[in-house]
């Protein structure tokens, strides 16, 4: 590719650009090749050892990696002390749920459990030919170093990664692969290594999300997670507000509930880890990180943060405007300051810094997106106000100059990137759900391509941070629950963005590369002239289950492109809420389905005006006649809310399809917005989420 808006995140892994992937018609690496490189060729295949395998991290990663490496014949060795409580056996029900009994048995049978005394490795380990050690033992530096020495003495060529959340690679003497909770399913790994390694690339090829970060004390996730915990603790100290209530206000403000998370992870271990990270950060960076007295106490006692069940809270706490502003300062001030440090130290690609908070620490919007929305002046003012409340934090680790480049593409394109080769543009979305930030960034990306003179574009996931595209971020709908104008504003603005893909480019191709594309994301992609998808991707419109009425033209746009004979299938998709496989949606919802390689090649061929043999499906501009109102065989709604949701969606389909294309956008946006203010939506998933999150 000739030009990019900002660096592609895949490049940080040494995997090139997304554009190059399309141009070459294949991914840059394959799992099979990388398994050979890391574990040896088939026949000489070595094993993977996870030490501390019964711990929360060890057991989770034994499952996650075991499930992915078992098909390649890589044996898993789970190593721990003989008296360690069984953490691996507890994973079995989850495995059965994910892979079925046969799959679960296969994965478990591939795990060999071994015990050791901490000083000498079991003799039988040698027979397993260990090639890769993932160390997940307690956070004690000397113990970890001694552990590596035993392995290196026995297996000099072994590749080692530590899951540490606090110690830098330079202190440990090994690379870092720091995973995120919940360890069975969270795909993020913060990796620290001098150059992108086959290990990190293998993680990527196995469908995980390795994210390179710099080698500093405590990694990005821990600065954010421990940081927001500490911010909550400081507010608790200043206000007496109980932890459970601080949690609710933090969740309302940013998304995470750090104290609940500690209890869920296991307060005994999580309290210590949080303290350990903050303690080491404070030693290097000063008082902004100093653990509070109550954390000091609870790292020792392991006490939960929420009260026990028999003492569920009785007295509620509210914040008036003045105290709410103060609360924001106590929480955002340190978060912004800590982020300034990470920016100053260039701890990672900005899209990574931003995404880690969303994908691992429950941030509704990444911390950089929050800061960008506030603007540099407000960010600096917030930190300065925090320093007035907590003067000790002002001494060090504050880098306001880090916000000077907020107007740069690196800051402005956290979720959407664009690149082109002077002929074909590739726009990538790195967020799984569509929100106002994605919408704004997508518009900027399309503007940039237009300015660059690009008329042919591929829209796709980023093959890295977004492993699927799940639809609209329902948190964006909160203002619309009480205000139809707000809902109309969102639906019409996002629909106008989507239409640009149809209206402003000579050729636009949507490529579904992940495991699913649903709801608002599918509505967005269907505006492209062509939609191609990997053949087992799930495509669906689950809005009816929430319920909401699709707002980005999903109720008429696909009808205008599909043969009338296929309209019942679209109706089924919209009213049933169940997804279809991409291979079953060709011709009426998408244009092509195939293997990833085929899909990459097809998308590129279409976009680069090659011979592809696919007919461009025309968008009918007039009013459609004969759109059905029901689907034979669709199960009866099981509750009034389901009945009303279907009725509203059918009404929207009839009105929007019955309008001319020029009017349909407004018709659908209004229908969607009106339903959002109904009691059905307000008491449904979105309304319940809103109440739980925002009404505290």
């Amino acid at each position: 590719m000739g030009k990019t808006m900002r660096q592609t995140t895949l490049e940080t892994l040494g995997l090139g650009t997304v554009g190059a992937m399309f141009r070459h018609g294949r991914p840059p690496v394959t799992s099979a090749d990388l398994v050979d490189r890391v574990f040896g060729n088939s026949g000489q295949r070595g094993s993977m050892v996870i030490s501390g395998a019964n711990g929360i991290v060890g057991a989770g990663k034994t499952m996650q990696l075991g499930a992915r490496l078992e098909p390649f014949g890589v044996r898993m060795v789970a190593l721990d002390f003989p008296n360690a409580p069984d953490g691996i056996g507890k994973q079995y029900p989850g495995l059965v749920q994910a892979f079925g009994p046969d799959g679960a048995n296969r994965i478990m049978a591939n795990i060999t459990r071994m015990n050791y005394d901490g000083r000498t490795l079991p003799g039988e380990l040698k027979q397993m030919r260990p090639r890769f050690l993932l160390e997940a033992i307690p956070e004690v530096l000397d113990v970890k170093r001694a552990h590596y020495k035993i392995f290196r003495d026995a297996f000099p060529d072994i590749e080692i990664r530590s899951v540490t959340s606090g110690f830098p690679s330079s202190e440990l003497g090994v690379g870092i692969a720091h995973p995120a909770f919940p360890h069975e399913i969270n795909k993020i790994w913060e990796v620290v290594e001098p150059e992108p390694s086959p290990v990190s690339q293998l993680l990527w090829a196995l469908g995980l999300i390795p994210v390179p970060v710099s080698d500093h004390w405590s990694f990005v996730l821990d600065v954010l997670f421990c940081g927001v915990t500490l911010a909550g603790l400081r507010y608790h100290d200043a206000s007496n507000m109980p932890f459970w209530k601080v949690d609710k206000f933090v969740r309302k403000l940013l998304g995470p509930n750090p104290f609940r998370a500690h209890d869920a992870i296991g307060a005994q271990g999580a309290n210590f880890l949080t303290w350990s990270c903050l303690h080491h950060l404070a030693q290097r960076y000063g008082a902004v990180f100093t653990p509070s007295a109550v954390l000091e106490e609870r790292k020792t006692t392991g006490q939960n943060w929420y009260p026990p069940n028999h003492f569920r809270p009785l007295v509620d706490w509210k914040l008036d405007d003045g105290r709410a502003a103060e609360f924001q300062t106590w929480i955002l001030g340190p978060m912004f300051q800590m982020t300034s440090l990470m920016l100053h130290e260039r701890r990672g690609h900005l899209a990574h810094l931003n995404a880690i908070g969303e994908l691992c620490a429950q941030f509704r919007r990444g911390i950089l997106a929050v800061m960008r929305a506030a603007g540099p002046d407000a960010v600096i003012e917030t930190v300065e106000a925090y320093h007035r409340l907590h003067p000790q934090a002002a001494g060090a680790a504050w880098h306001p100059d880090a916000f000077a480049s907020m107007e740069s593409p690196e800051w402005q394109q956290l979720y959407v990137n664009a690149e082109h080769d002077d002929g074909v543009g590739v726009v990538t979305i790195s967020r799984e759900s569509y929100n106002g930030d994605v919408d704004a960034e997508l518009n900027r990306a399309l503007d940039w391509l237009k300015v660059e003179g690009i008329e042919r574009v591929i829209l796709t996931g980023d093959f890295h941070l977004s492993t699927q595209l799940v639809g609209a971020d329902t948190a964006e709908f909160y203002p619309a629950l009480q205000n139809a104008d707000a809902g109309y504003g969102i639906a019409s603005a996002w629909s106008r963005t989507a239409r640009r893909l149809n209206d402003e480019f000579e050729v636009s191709v949507a490529c579904v590369n992940g495991k699913r594309c649903l709801g608002g994301m599918l509505e967005l992609l269907m505006h492209c002239h062509y939609v191609v998808a990997v053949d087992d991707a799930q495509l669906g419109m689950p809005e009816v289950t929430l319920p909401v009425v699709p707002g980005m033209e999903g109720c008429h746009w696909p009808f205008r492109k599909a043969p009338s004979d296929d309209w019942p299938k679209l109706l089924q998709l919209l009213l049933g809420g169940r997804p279809v496989r991409a291979r079953d949606a060709v011709g009426w919802l998408i244009d092509y389905a195939g293997s990833l390689g085929d899909v990459l090649q097809t998308a590129w061929t279409i976009a680069s005006k090659g011979k592809h043999g696919l007919e461009r499906r025309k968008v009918e501009r007039g009013a459609l006649k004969g759109v059905p109102t029901d689907v034979p065989g669709l199960p009866e709604p099981d509750a009034p809310v389901a009945f009303e949701a279907r009725k509203a969606i059918v009404g929207c389909i009839q009105d929007a399809c019955g309008a001319k294309l020029g009017d349909a956008l407004a018709v659908q946006a209004k229908r969607s917005a009106d339903f959002m203010t109904s009691k059905w939506c307000q008491t449904g998933v979105v309304g319940t989420e809103y109440t739980k999150t925002m009404v505290v």
């Binding site: 007496n240 109980p242 007295v315």
Partner: protein, 397 residues
């Protein structure tokens, strides 16, 4: 004047770090549904938060309550845990004198070496527990006793009910029904005037109570059950005993109240108005003859004045726990004092009697009133089960 020394020279009450819940009448609010010990701990934490006092300042906690509550065995340490601060402490009780005695004990704890001692008093008269007591000497063998009502109705030492003591005392001092009705009318007016003026907003803190699902159960934001009475209405009420009617006696209520006692230095540090100094001057208790409880507080005050060398003319604020209007009439008579000059912001006769916290709220109101007056001596007193009278003197400067 010369004898009015401090009893706890090291101890001060930091102005403005206190607070009380409203006292809804029994069975009228969400407080009827809660474990009052837990509620009180959480409420004190909330009040300290509103007053910008970090709970971590607490070294020790004295709690006071009179009605058993679930897990009472764990007493102050448990309530402190509900408050969110694992400090030691103990539970005390002295019937209706609990709210004043707890503060005095806290003064003593500061005098003994603690820097900041919390005082937290509370009770829930609604649905008070019922105990089954094996009793070998009674013909029933076991007796089920409803804690509040059976105790009000029967002093085991004398065999008389509380209300009987009021009637007996009224007859002893020849108190007229007319005076008692007028007194009760004035007390109601004093309360409602203070309420309308906003004075009570400085003392009482509205509190939201949650149910087990974390949803609102009710807001405790009024002394529910209190209604403005007319003089003619009071006069028309049935007399239950001499000079005692529904309008001239208090009612059972639920609630909590809290304050801090600290060293002089800490009090300055914690108070939003460090220039205000509140000292403990003196304290007296007396026990009068059987079933004459309403006269006991007056005797206590007489003794206190004698001890301190003060006269009623030296006192800036006079406030008492007056479960019966008769108490105040007797006090006026024995001390030759115009009862309309006391209880200027209301009293427990009007806003109810949750027992443990009653005199704590009275103390807080009195101190606020004294600050409004620019300082002076504050006289607090009241009666307690067992024909006891308690009186204490504080000084606000």
């Amino acid at each position: 004047m010369s004898k009015a020394n401090e009893i706890f020279p090291r101890a001060r009450i930091p102005y403005g770090t206190w607070g009380s819940s409203y006292f809804p009448a029994w069975q009228t609010s969400a407080l009827a549904e809660v474990n009052i010990g837990q509620f009180a701990g959480e409420a004190m934490n909330h009040i300290l938060g509103l007053r910008r006092v970090p709970k971590s300042e607490l070294d020790y906690l004295v709690i006071g309550s009179t009605i058993p509550w679930h897990w009472k065995f764990w007493n102050a340490p448990l309530v402190a845990s509900c408050l969110g601060e694992r400090v030691p402490g103990y539970h005390m009780e002295q019937a209706c004198a609990t709210g004043l005695q707890a503060a005095l004990l806290a003064g003593n704890e500061v005098q003994s070496g603690y820097d900041v001692v919390g005082v937290l008093t509370f009770d829930r008269t609604s649905d008070s527990p019922v105990g089954v007591f094996p009793e070998r000497r009674a013909h029933e063998r076991t007796r089920a006793l409803a804690d509040v009502w059976d105790n009000f109705g029967f002093d085991p030492a004398t065999g008389n009910a509380m209300i009987t003591t009021a009637g007996l005392a009224a007859r002893k001092y020849k108190i007229e029904r007319q005076e008692v009705d007028e007194l009760a009318y004035v007390r109601h007016k004093q309360y409602f005037d203070a309420k309308r003026s906003g004075f009570l907003d400085r003392v009482l803190v509205p509190l939201e109570v949650l149910n087990v699902q974390g949803r609102p159960l009710g807001r405790i934001d009024d002394d529910l059950g209190v209604r403005e009475l007319t003089l003619s209405g009071l006069r028309a009420m049935n007399e239950l005993d001499t000079c005692v009617t529904g309008g001239t006696q208090t009612h059972a209520a639920d609630g909590m109240a809290c304050l801090l006692v600290a060293t002089k230095e800490k009090a300055r540090e914690l108070s939003p108005r460090p220039e205000i100094d509140i000292q403990f001057v003196a304290k007296i208790e007396v026990r009068t003859n059987p079933s004459l409880m309403p006269e006991a507080p007056a005797f206590a005050v007489q003794k206190l004045l004698e001890k301190t060398g003060l006269t009623m003319a030296d006192i800036a604020v006079v406030k008492n726990h007056n479960p019966f209007a008769v108490n105040d009439a007797i006090f006026g008579k024995l001390l030759d004092y115009d009862w309309s000059c006391m209880n200027k912001t209301g009293s427990s006769l009007v806003w109810g009697h949750p027992q443990g916290p009653t005199l704590t709220r009275i103390m807080i109101e009195a101190l606020e009133e004294a600050v409004d007056l620019g300082g002076g001596y504050v006289l607090l007193f009241g009666c307690a089960a067992g024909d006891v009278g308690i009186a204490a003197l504080l000084k606000v400067s």
